[in-house]
Amino acid sequence: MIQQDNNISTGTKGITLHEFNNRIKRLLNDRSVQNCWIIADLSDVAIRGGHCYLELVEKNAAGATVAKVRGIIWAGRVQYLRSKFLAVTGQDLKSGLKVMVEASVNYHEQYGLSVVITDIDPSYTMGDMERLRREILARLQQEGVLEMNRCLPVPAVVQRIAVVSAVGAAGYGDFINQLHNNSYGLQFYTCLFQATMQGASTSPSIIAALDRIAAHIDLFDCVVIIRGGGSTSDLNSFDEYNLAANVAQFPLPVIVGIGHERDVTVLDYVAAIRVKTPTAAAEWLITRGVEALSRLDRLTTTICDTVRQYLNGAAQQLSYYTGNIPFMVSSRIESNRMRLSHLLQMIPTATGGRIAAADERLNAFAAAIVQAQTQAMAREKLKLKAIGDKIEILSPQNTLRRGYSITTVNGHAVSNVAELKDSDVVTTRLATGSFISKVTEINKTKE
């Protein structure tokens, strides 16, 4: 050993760098670093000469890079992996995505260390994007704002629209054309609030546009956020907490049309209305207007039908009376006439018997009256005679005849000695005549 060391230290013979790198290469020819599934973020993705060059990066929670390696997808594999990834995630391979790739270490004597990527698991990326979305949604839910925009009542007719989009974008043009050239004569009023619809500034730019709309809120019925055409790769700039929180709490219903068929972003969960494309957003608004028109048509029909029914009913009633009144009158007259003649026929037979009976009763009354009167008169005669007899017995003449007398003074009959005084001249009447005398003594009978 010592001798060997001495040999090296004396520089008898060194090895070439190539040889050294070759040794490294041989060392790396180990199964533990071949065909490994690695989880990492993509960075610096670039296609050159058909090959895809990139960097695999791992960052810690604070965002600092803790591991990094150059990666390469050989031209023959690039197309296959990009298609496979696109089919599931709707996105192209691009920086910022979290991926799981199958990679093997590659050491080239000249170019150094890198990994060759041979496969990719798109469902991992999907899962990661989904996890991010879930985290944002859970936070919004916890803050109680998740469903705020979805719960806003959408007006019956949505005509005044604040559009958030990029001015030159094809999608915006399609939206405007479709909306303003609708074949129903529906009027829409649009106002563009420009925003960047891709890249890192998407979220702050849209939030700024929403703030500008909020300053004129009374002018609008709703907000439409549309992303003009373009690739599907930039959708994750919409999966952002601040943007989602702003949309969720916006006081007007928000319609989002930023994706394509299979793309779903957090905005799709928080906005009042979610459509797939800008064209679909225009269609939704037109359909809403057409529904309002149909509702008016239905109301018109109902009102016309109701009025017609009333008028028909009234006309039928009138014609019924017109046709039936003469008949009703003549039949009433006829029935009354018949009743009258029936009554007339009944009068003689009905009254005849009654009159005869009444006659008999009257005759009997007359006879009874005569008899009663005769009897009453006889009774009265007897009564009168008895009274006359009594009067006769009690008459003063008869009394005088029996020896009684009547004494008068100054024309008045004296019934009490108190009425007399000495020397009064009194007349005494007897049955046969009278005499005059003078009072000489008055004796009062003791009681």
Binding site: P155, A156, L219, A292, R295, L299, I303
Partner: protein, 68 residues
């Protein structure tokens, strides 16, 4: 009944229309007040339709200025 045309809104007009229709279809509606209800409903229908299909130039101008 909403009489002021200026204050009339589409939503208000529609709900008044539906109320009128219910009233027209109710047993208590007589042919005597049918005429007034019909006149009012036609006015509301015209208002709603015009709101949907006639351009509000003033609003258009305001929004055009806002967009600049």
């Amino acid at each position: 009944m909403e009489n002021s045309e200026e204050k009339m809104t589409y939503t208000g007009a529609i709900s008044e229309l539906e109320k009128i229709v219910r009233e027209m279809q109710s047993d208590s509606c007589s042919i005597d007040n049918l005429s007034a209800l019909t006149t009012r409903s036609l006015k509301l229908l015209k208002f709603c339709k015009s709101k949907l299909q006639t351009t509000d130039e003033e609003l258009k101008k305001i929004l055009a200025e806002l967009e600049q």
